[in-house]
Symmetry: C2
Subunit: 337 residues, 2 copies
């Protein structure tokens, strides 16, 4: 059934039902967060009782044929990723996600069943993280887009910021980088890869896992500076440098790329790892003693890949012999000149 056959308000009802089946809207864990949801989907606004504390607020959008192509992206993956990129921003602040509102811009021929699949994936993800989808807006649009705005709160009373890096800090990153960019390439170009490699890379691109637990643990262990990797490792580290007024050195041979990526792209893996983007890992900096303790306590591997030094904002990448590595391109710009 197409959206135009169903109508706006019955569509809202159907999508709200998908969420309710997962107990998403009413079931925000008040006991843990101290928040108590009073009003969810259906009124002029959602409403809740909040305890005193730190809150964070972010928004991220995916537009068809800009951020994703329908032929490579299932509805399930789209729903997952649209929420994951927002969760990742909250994780990068060291916070827990709480309430989200979802805006859908829909061409009239959008299949209702596709949107239900999308909401099913979002519902599973919200259930995992104790998030409530508490409202939104559904509008007609010539192009499909989904915007999520997400509120989070701090359980630790401290935040991770882009401006917290200091000379002498080490630079580390969670998990592996580059697989998402490799995955995008395997989706859009015909490559002769074994199914396991292809599946691994595609999943890294389509199903990023926001590092919520990691962000919280970093804040708990005294880390004060982080960013999530959306535009590419080197580029995102550059943003930290600008915001912190520091310089960074990155050791290319320490950058954690996994075997799947290296096998699939033996010549390009490093450039995919440094510049690929959409990894949604956390990049963070801290003095060595804090770094050691923090990394030891994460549920995910974390690798020290560089250091923060005094100097004008910028990132220098060095190879194993200490020679500068030149980067092809600096991160994702929606309007590159």
């Amino acid at each position: 059934m197409r959206v135009e056959e169903l109508g706006e308000f019955p569509l809202i009802d159907r999508l709200a039902r998908v969420l309710s089946r997962h107990g998403v809207s009413p079931r925000v864990p008040a006991a843990k967060s101290g928040y108590e949801l009073l009003i969810s989907i259906g009124d002029d606004a959602a409403a809740w009782k909040a305890p005193a504390g730190l809150q964070v607020f972010t928004t991220d959008t995916m537009v068809e044929d800009i951020h994703f192509e329908r032929r490579y992206t299932s509805w399930t993956d789209l729903g997952w990723k649209a929420l994951a990129v927002n969760l990742s921003d909250v994780a990068a602040m060291g916070c827990m996600p709480l309430y989200g509102v979802v805006t859908l811009g829909l061409p009239p021929d959008t299949p209702v069943e596709g949107l239900e699949e999308m909401y099913e994936a979002m519902a599973q993800e919200t259930e995992q993280h104790g998030v409530g989808i508490v409202g939104g807006d559904i509008v007609r649009s010539p192009v499909f887009f989904v915007t999520i705005a997400l509120l989070g709160y701090s359980q630790t009373g401290t935040l991770l910021t882009r401006s917290g890096a200091k000379a002498g800090d080490q630079v580390a990153v969670t998990g592996h980088v580059g697989c998402s960019a490799g995955g995008l390439r395997t989706l859009s170009v015909e490559l002769t890869l074994d199914p396991e490699t292809k599946g691994h890379l595609a999943a890294a691109h389509s199903r990023p896992m926001a590092r919520i637990a990691e962000g919280k643990l970093l804040a708990e262990h005294g880390v004060r500076c982080a960013i999530d990797l959306s535009d590419g490792l080197a580029d995102d580290l550059g943003k930290v440098c600008v915001m912190s007024g520091v310089s960074a050195v990155l050791y290319a041979n320490r950058v954690p790329a996994d075997g799947f990526l290296k096998q699939a792209f033996p010549k390009e893996w490093l450039s995919l790892a440094l510049g690929g983007g959409e990894d949604y890992e956390l990049l963070f900096t801290a003095p060595p003693r804090i770094m050691e303790r923090a990394c030891a306590n994460l549920p995910t591997s974390a690798t020290v890949i560089g250091e923060i030094v005094s100097g004008p904002p910028g990132v220098e990448v060095l190879d194993a012999k200490g020679r500068p590595v030149s980067l092809a391109k600096g991160g994702w710009d929606h309007f590159p000149r």
Copy 2:
């Protein structure tokens, strides 16, 4: 200059500067609200210290050629209205607006100067209401759209909801209705109207004033049920009936339409007033004693136009002689069948 000539990050800087000139981002009135903004535009998320209390969360979108046409809508009006419709949702909950994030979907040829005008209007409006635009997302899109998500808080400790109407309540509305729909018609159809009438109607459509002070006063005076008029008076009252499980009677001869509307549309003013939509007035219900006191204390006129009765959800419109008035169409649906 076009957006594609400037690039994404310089554009964010320029728009953030427009907001800073109005002191918008840092200047959220902590003293009054108890909120203290810690991090604004530029990090993974905005962050603030919040006191304990009730919060509300809403989002609204405007898509080019769906919600507005560029030839009838200046950049200034677009910025104003995109924020006003969100402010209005917060007003309809009896709350004060606090922090917003703005998503812009931009075709590459969007003029930067237009966006600056748009932000100038938003900055003026945020200044008026003590709102901080604390972040957002700028993405490439084949169609222009603007989505705002807005957080608000209650100063009174009570909310206005759509589900609070009870049999025996009176139904009232702030200000006048129908001018916005009349204004849309004067913008899109050549009508021989005097400039004052035309200007009045056009302004009602392009520059709605969110009823923030009124919403708060209603909550303070014991009103518990409200909705803001976006889809049309009769239709929005119908939503209150559904959410409250009640029926409503509306007296057509009491509906407040002003002289400009009646003069410009002598035959159609009532249908514009009942079904036109986009008035962004508050419709509210309360027992007669509360209603009388509340209406007397508003800075804006408010008119009792009907009553809530027991019965299946629905709205009956009666003329001066008590005869039913049939309504042409029931409100705005983005995907009408």
